[in-house]
Structures are given as structure tokens and as C-alpha cells.
Amino acid sequence: MMIDTNTAWFRRGLRDGIPIALGYFAVAFTLGFAAKNAGFSAFQAMIESFTNNASAGEYAVFSLAAAGAGYWEVAVMTLVTNARYLLMSCSLSQKLSPDTSLVHRMLVAFDVTDEIFGISIAVPGRLNPFYSYGAMSVAIPGWGIGTFLGVAVGSVLPLRLASALSVGLYGMFLAVIVPPARENRVILGTVLLSFAVSFVSEHWALLSGVSSGTRTIILTVALALGAAVLFPIKDDEEGAAQP
């Protein structure tokens, strides 16, 4: 039986947030290098990271800033590169209890990233916002400080270290998707099909030209919709959805 207090959820989030923070640190360090080239000071780059919490999105901003792009371009590119978070927030809205207050919703929204979203949906039952806060409390500093140091040091991490740390984030995704796939054939099929289609689409002329963020959205909408139509979920007694 899990203890269900806010403190216990915060601690659980903190624990699951530690590997995220380490992975973020490595990625952010590299991002800081791009920020430096765009003329951002270490402090400005850190604030960009604290307030954006998005790798591809920030990279786009740094590249545009380096080219002296207009503000509208920055707004549109941020929208495009981060559009997948819209889908994640929609999904997360069903994971929160309908009673969750507006303030909690606004705070949880601040750090909807691929990784925090991943661990949040893996929580059994409803998502307690304090779980998210626990994860954010280590992930955001890891991200921001990594960016700061990337600019300050002005180089990328040693390749061997960056290479090893970067797969940690994918390891987390696996820890989220594999256990339910083991229990449920439909999820297993969906995961395997997603792997296959994702692999093929990278080399498929029609989709190979679009950014990875856009490709993620297109594939997610297409495959999740297909699964939803073919295998609609049934609600069991506890209210937890099951395909």
C-alpha cells in the first residue's frame, strides 16, 4: 500500500526526477554551447532554460537569435517545435483528478516535458500534482544550471560522457512503456508498431524532411487514433481505463 500524502508524492517525484535531472544536465550543457554562439550570456541562457524547459524549442530560439530573426519568427518556431506538448497536456488533463484546482493545473503545466510527462503518466491511478513538483524541483535546476555551465565553460561535454548520459532519458521512456506493454497486448502491439513506423518514417521521403518534433506529432496522432478506433478502451470498476 502506497502512502498517499502530498509529502510522499513529492518525495516519489523527487526520486524519479533525479535521472531526468542528470540527463537534462548533459543535454543542457550542449545547448549552452549553442546559446553562447547566439550571443546569450550564461545568465540569459539559464533564464531561457528555466522559463522554456524545452530542448528542441530552445535550440530553435538560439539558432534564430544567432541569425538575428524577427520576434514573430521566434514565436512561430517555438510554437511549431513545442506543439507536441499540447498533445501531452491534453493527455495529462485526463490523468489529473477533475477536482484539481486551477493553481495546481497552472503549476503542473510549467514543466510538461517529454520526460516529466513520461513519468507522470506512469504513476498508478490519478496524478497528484505534488509528484510533478518533486520531479520539477530537481529537473528544472539540472536543466537551467546545465545551460549556464554550457555557456560559461563554452564547450561541449566530453563525447564519451555525453553519449552515455544522453541514453538515460530514453531508458526512462522504456521504463514507462515496457511494463504496461508486458501486461497488455494492445499496448505491446502499439509500441512495436510505433517503433517500426518511426524508424521507417525517418527514411521515408514524405516525412524525412520535417523536423523530428513535427514527425512525432504526425505519427502520434495517426497511430493513437488508429489504436483508439480499433481497440477502444473499456472502463473498469476503479475508473482506470483499459483497452
Partner: protein, 100 residues
């Protein structure tokens, strides 16, 4: 161009994208297809982001492939998030010692 304005704009847009659905969708969605769709979104989106990206993130693709295999086996056996993540990192770190 002002760097602080770039920061302000990108921060504002990023936050609006994330906060809008969470604030607007306050109730449980009743429509079965939509509910099912949102139920499958995480699995599809995380799968799509993991593969083949994990193989491309490492210096040696084989190291990434080994990390993928290690991650799947450990997660299948019920190891927790931290253990799986660390095992993937170690797999790459050690295998690249020999591969790169």
C-alpha cells in the same frame, strides 16, 4: 534584436501551449474515441521518440542498440525508472570503451 524579448516571447509561447489544455479540459472526457485516443498518446509518443533516436544518440550505433536491449529487458523484469535509466547509461559507457 533584444535577447530578453526573445526569452520573453519563447517563454510565453511555450507556457501557453502547455497550460491551455490543462486549464480548459477540466472534466473527464466522455467521448469514447477521444478518451481512447488520449489513452494511447503517451505510449505512441514515447515509443516514437525512443526509437530510432536511442541508436542515433550514441557515438556508436551498436552501443545505442545494446542500451535499447538492456532497457527493454530490465523494464520487462520490473526494474524501476532509475535502475533502467542508469543501466542504459552504463551499457553505453562500457560498450563504447570497446567500440569507439
Amino acid at each position: 534584436m533584444n535577447i530578453w524579448l526573445y526569452i520573453l516571447i519563447s517563454a510565453g509561447v511555450s507556457y501557453l501551449i502547455r497550460v491551455t489544455p490543462l486549464v480548459l479540459i477540466r472534466r473527464e472526457i466522455k467521448n469514447k474515441t477521444l478518451r481512447s485516443f488520449l489513452y494511447y498518446v503517451p505510449y505512441v509518443t514515447l515509443s516514437v521518440m525512443t526509437f530510432p533516436a536511442i541508436v542515433e544518440a550514441t557515438q556508436s550505433p551498436l552501443a545505442g542498440l545494446l542500451a535499447l536491449a538492456a532497457g527493454i529487458v530490465l523494464a520487462w523484469r520490473g526494474k524501476n525508472l532509475f535502475q533502467v535509466a542508469v543501466a542504459c547509461c552504463l551499457t553505453v559507457f562500457i560498450s563504447e570503451w570497446f567500440l569507439v
